[in-house]
Amino acid sequence: MTHSAEQGKKRTLRQTLLIVLGMFGFVFALVPLYSVLCDVTGLNGKTRNQPERVVYTEPDLSRTITVEFLANVNESMPWDFHPAVTRMKVHPGQVRKTSFYARNLSSDTMVGQAVPSVAPGLAALHFRKTECFCFTEQRFAPGEWRDMPLVFMVDKDLPEDITTLTLAYTFFDKQILVD
């Protein structure tokens, strides 16, 4: 094998290895990219996970939106969790308040994290929460129960064709993550 042929092989080998390493890195770069994309576009029904500032203006009384509330606990988490009301009629631009009831049925102190999701996904960014129990983790003593508040507003620029919004919370056991 001549000298230059050996070098050619080495060069191609280097190039291909670079592609392999680059693509392996790319997967992990996808993770933050994916979150940013979902935050910006609200794809997947992801809502903001911190209090939002809203400007109070006249509500748009010409439109009425039905907001439905769902509450789930993940897998076999021994909690009782349900909304105070299952649906509300709201006008865009109106700030409304409701609450969710949760009770720790187990005999251990437990820490839960509620994760919200809005359907249809495109409405997620128009659903604004100024106060929510989902912004922080929730610690419950054995048998403890609480009514947890939610203050929200539906944006006036919610797309015209959306008349019903569903907000679903799922409580996850944070302890499992920590152990």
Binding site: G8, F24, V27, L30, G121, T170, F172, L177
Partner: protein
């Protein structure tokens, strides 16, 4: 093969017996190892398929536990994709690429040895999970979280074996690229390369670009399970849907990894038996390249029902349909090659013709699934199962079998038994259609995939499908018999083997010397 050991005078000493195969760096030995390994895995995966079809023969639970049934569908897919089809293609690449481009061997022989010998370990690990507490992986070959995270003790073994398979394929692919780029005989320009070499070059690039993506995704699964990360865990701020995006970003190019070399094989066989040069050579090359490119931007057609904005659905729908254009170009080119050719129908040609017809059926059902609104009804039904078995069994597997009949006389120096070969083709073709065609109807009627039991209205078609399945399975034992009979002996093959065959590999003796071209041939 046993006869392929003609020694050159200047050969270095190599050990004999078992150690010859363990330490070999020769492209023909390694090609043989890959092909025999693939054949073995084809039988193992086939046995799993027989269990699946036996359970589905009639409604109700007959033979196996539902959990074990799901292990069978999961393991069947992993074994067939990573253990049978991919190694068979790598084996063909090893045997054929050096002979086709006029090189003495593959560029990186030691790495070649490694990339093969990793495989038996990978599959020993994967298959050992069948005996573990909690059973073998049962969450589907797509390994979606959170379900896959509930796998028992088998979980880390699943991830580790996928890593090993990935490493093996990446090494194999790098070897192919380095060989083709640097070791072509003088005069063998890129646009003179046989299409099998072209399609493998493009496949190899797909492999090195996507296997690391799969490796990354399963690594994230592993850390989610054992190291408290939350890549796919909603409670910790992750998102299980992200796994699906990453998986299919690998997964769709992967299905083309499973078919592009088959396109290459058919493009070698059809001209030989039509006795005409391939119609539209350069359009074939460009079509292959554009399929490879497009395969990176269609992944979400596996996720139409997962939730996407309308523009997303439309984009992925049109992009997917666009792939049908270069695919159609290929089908038309094969048909044009046959047009007014002096055709004969030896076994390899029969398999190539079967490929052209039945792969196209699979392409059409793919087009139906590509329509987002339609896919909402067909997704996760037996219609999808029918689709991918037409493209993978009557597509990829038929091409591999055709290739083995086509080149076996070259490899072993013996002609196979033509009468048995034809019998194998016809039995396979009839039974495979009895097996998979009714699954279209089952899917349209709404039968979900990956279930051990079903509602009684699906009983009739399932019974037919299972009968086809058993017949197809039995027929493949005939194939194994033919292969070993040919290795052992048979009519002496000439150098050219087929009257209409052209290309460098047919200028070598049958069987070829241990090192293919010690002095590079001149290509005009």
């Amino acid at each position: 093969m046993s006869t392929a050991t003609t020694h050159d005078a200047h050969n270095e000493e190599h050990p004999s017996g078992l150690m010859r195969w363990v330490t070999t760096t020769n492209h023909k030995d390694i090609g043989t190892l890959y092909l025999l390994f693939a054949l073995m895995m084809f039988i193992v995966g086939g046995a799993m398929a027989m269990i699946i079809r036996a359970e589905l023969f009639e409604p109700g639970l007959q033979f196996v536990e539902p959990q074990f049934f799901n292990s069978m569908t999961t393991m069947h897919a992993l074994v067939m994709i990573f253990g049978a089809v991919m190694p068979a293609f790598v084996g063909l690449a090893n045997w054929l690429i050096p002979m086709m481009i006029g090189a003495p061997d593959m560029a990186l022989p030691r790495m070649n040895n490694w990339s093969f010998w990793i495989l038996p370990f990978a599959f020993a690990i994967l298959l050992s999970t069948l005996f573990m507490e909690g059973g073998a992986p049962a969450g589907g070959w797509t390994m979606y979280p959170p379900l896959v995270l509930q796998t028992g003790n088998a979980f880390p073994f699943l991830i580790f074996s996928v890593h090993l398979m990935g490493i093996s394929s990446i090494m194999g692919a790098i070897n192919v690229i380095v060989t083709i780029v640097n070791m072509r005989a003088p005069g063998m320009t890129m646009m003179k390369m046989p299409l099998f070499v072209w399609t493998w070059l493009i496949t190899a690039y797909l492999l090195i670009a996507t296997m690391p993506v799969l490796a990354g995704a399963v690594t994230m699964l592993l850390t989610d399970r054992f190291f408290d990360t939350s890549f796919f865990n909603a409670a910790g701020g992750g998102d299980p849907v992200m796994f699906q995006h990453i998986f299919w970003f690998f997964g769709h190019p992967e299905v083309y990894i499973l078919i592009l070399p088959a396109f290459g094989i058919v493009s070698q066989i059809v001209p030989t038996f039509a006795r005409k040069p391939l119609f539209g050579y350069s359009s074939m090359v460009y079509a292959t390249a554009s399929i490879a490119f497009l395969s990176f931007i269609v992944w979400a057609h596996h996720m139409f029902t997962v939730g996407m904005p309308l523009t997303g659905e439309l984009f992925f729908m049109y992009a997917t349909m666009l792939i049908a254009v270069p695919t159609g170009v290929k089908v038309f080119n094969w048909v044009s090659t046959m047009w007014r050719g002096a055709m004969t129908f030896e076994t390899p040609m029969l398999f190539a013709l079967g490929f052209v017809v039945m792969f196209t059926i699979g392409g059409f059902s793919g087009l139906m699934l590509a329509m987002a609104p339609v896919d909402f009804q067909y997704h996760d039904t037996y219609f999808v199962v029918a689709h991918f078995h037409y493209v993978l069994v009557t597509g990829a597997v038929f091409a591999i079998m055709g290739a083995s009949y086509y080149w076996m006389p070259k490899w072993t120096g013996h002609m196979y038994d033509e009468r048995l070969g034809k019998l194998h083709f016809w039995l396979s073709t009839i039974s495979v259609n009895v097996l998979f065609f009714p699954q279209h109807f089952l899917g349209l009627a709404g039968m979900p995939r990956r279930i051990p039991d079903y509602s009684v209205q699906f009983a009739g078609f399932n019974e037919i499908s299972s009968i086809g399945g058993f017949a197809f399975g039995l027929t493949q034992l005939l194939y194994v018999y033919i292969v070993f009979k040919t290795i052992k002996g048979g009519a002496k093959a000439t150098d050219q083997v087929w009257e209409g065959a052209h290309g460098l590999e047919w200028t070598l003796p049958s069987p070829p010397p241990y090192h293919s071209f010690s002095t590079a041939p001149e290509v005009k």
